[in-house]
Symmetry: C2
Subunit: 357 residues, 2 copies
Amino acid sequence: MATRREVAELAGVSEATVSRVMNGVGPIKEETRRKVAAAADRLGYQLNALASGFAKGRSGNIGVVLPHVPKVRLFSTYYFSEILSGIGDVLHQAGYGLLLLYRNPQARYDYVSLYRTRRVDACLILGASDLPEEAASVFALADEGLPCCVVDQRYARPGLPCVGADHRAGAYAAARYMLDAGHRRIGFLNGSPHYSNSADRYEGYRQALAETGLSPDPAIQFEGNYSRKSGQEAAGAIFDRLEALDGLLCANDRMAIGAIQGLRERGVAVPERLPVIGYDNSDASSLTDPPLTTVEVPFYEMGRLAAESVMARLSGESGGSSGVEVAEGAAAYHANGSKPAAEDILLPTQLIIRRSC
Amino acid sequence: MATRREVAELAGVSEATVSRVMNGVGPIKEETRRKVAAAADRLGYQLNALASGFAKGRSGNIGVVLPHVPKVRLFSTYYFSEILSGIGDVLHQAGYGLLLLYRNPQARYDYVSLYRTRRVDACLILGASDLPEEAASVFALADEGLPCCVVDQRYARPGLPCVGADHRAGAYAAARYMLDAGHRRIGFLNGSPHYSNSADRYEGYRQALAETGLSPDPAIQFEGNYSRKSGQEAAGAIFDRLEALDGLLCANDRMAIGAIQGLRERGVAVPERLPVIGYDNSDASSLTDPPLTTVEVPFYEMGRLAAESVMARLSGESGGSSGVEVAEGAAAYHANGSKPAAEDILLPTQLIIRRSC
């Protein structure tokens, strides 16, 4: 049987182009497609992904692992949608398949088997946390040296790359903005501290308060699960503490929108009685009444960089141009206070000022 | 080597449960997981997805084919997000992988090769149209008798099942509501007529007008591509025809939101000067100012049914309980005027009244 290289040579294209044509993926010019098809025909070459994957030990698929949360439509959340779009665009260009896998957050997940059974060549892990079972599953990957990247969760573990955002700086900017406007009793509706991104936001909030000689008041710390519903439910507890509050930070826009809705139902006007700042700069943040002051996070770019990181690893170019470029930008950024592991990339965040605060 | 059946018998569970445990997917009780792992250990059974797939001719993956539109983040659109969530939940339960594949809408797509090369066991096709190259790609599947389902696009071709929604009835209800409120010069901002769902909406609109002795005025028919930006761009043409208009239907909420935004920039108040009705009942529709009157479409359910249809086909139960139940409900519904192929399922739509009309 002819090889991919022979087909590429006869057609005058790259081997990657041959793969894309044969797998029917990627933006391919009709003329290129015809040249490759003609060369493959002439050489009797037929790509059998499974057979060829078996031979070379590769599936051509990248696993994207999502937490499975019953009754929550992950694709409908801005967070996962943007990250998946960034991942999807990179894999599409590279001719890889994107295999979506769901993980039960309570159970130990056998990532290593996914590679052993050759269902995936690399894994991108979304929505992971510090919970022991979950961390242990992920650490096993690093211990085996398998290509992977954790998205928006820092483990600070050698051999386990992470692409996230500087949520410490993001929450710091939001709290600083409220403090500069004269607010002093700023509550925080955060997500579970098991996520490093929640913990980082808390740290930025704490740091801004500390610079003003304040410290977080435990009575005005609230917790949700990043859903709109949990924000609406938290509105009850926030309302009970209203006298102790003159501002509220929320760890994402969905919780902010839910909280504002719940507060409005209790007769509390935002921003007149209680200024609120969201987080994410999601599509919804500019559509709500009032439009949300929020923190922009480049989630699409986060997905792109995570996918590029495993692509570089798979093509044996982890020290190549693309990887180095990213690492240098990130290293410069890291100088700014946080202490991620060498492999970690933290993207910058930006305060977006609208009318909710 | 031991078989999956032997492991299942020793562990006292179903073969499907063994697969879910060995593939690390699905919600599995810890106790069950341990029993299966112990039985597999004892029998020396190790699932190698690629090898076992090669032997039985199955990959364990279902292909979900999306159109690739450069610079459009498909995951961020309510339409694709909801359908994918429905598909994902069913495949997760069944222990199948969801392999996302992108299709270039301009090129012929070789679906049949996807099966021949065993990358997928079945295909779900989203965002397909009547364009000749695209239809020819899809028809080849039906001709080969391969398991597949087309989502929200009717081809009325034997052997090619489709799960969609009754957009004729949805657009009819929206136009009827405007007519009942006394509006007579109702414009329509539709998507490309190459999609059967656009054509069905137009037909519902036409039918409602006809019942009132009116017919669609070509001067107030507008076309977008279902993006918010295209709605905003269409606002120019709509503004130019404002004297000929006393109402506007839009084929989705995103175009409606863009059009309202573009009209507002030109000093046209919605609904005071021009009432507008959207379509989809997306998350955004209740957040905008004014909240959109719109048509609810059960996209999540659409994804579920499409996935269940190929699951039933793969387990050889296409005449089984689940399939028949669905088909009967659909058949009853079909009695209501539209004429889909026998395999087509059209879900009901519902008018949601808010403040934009």
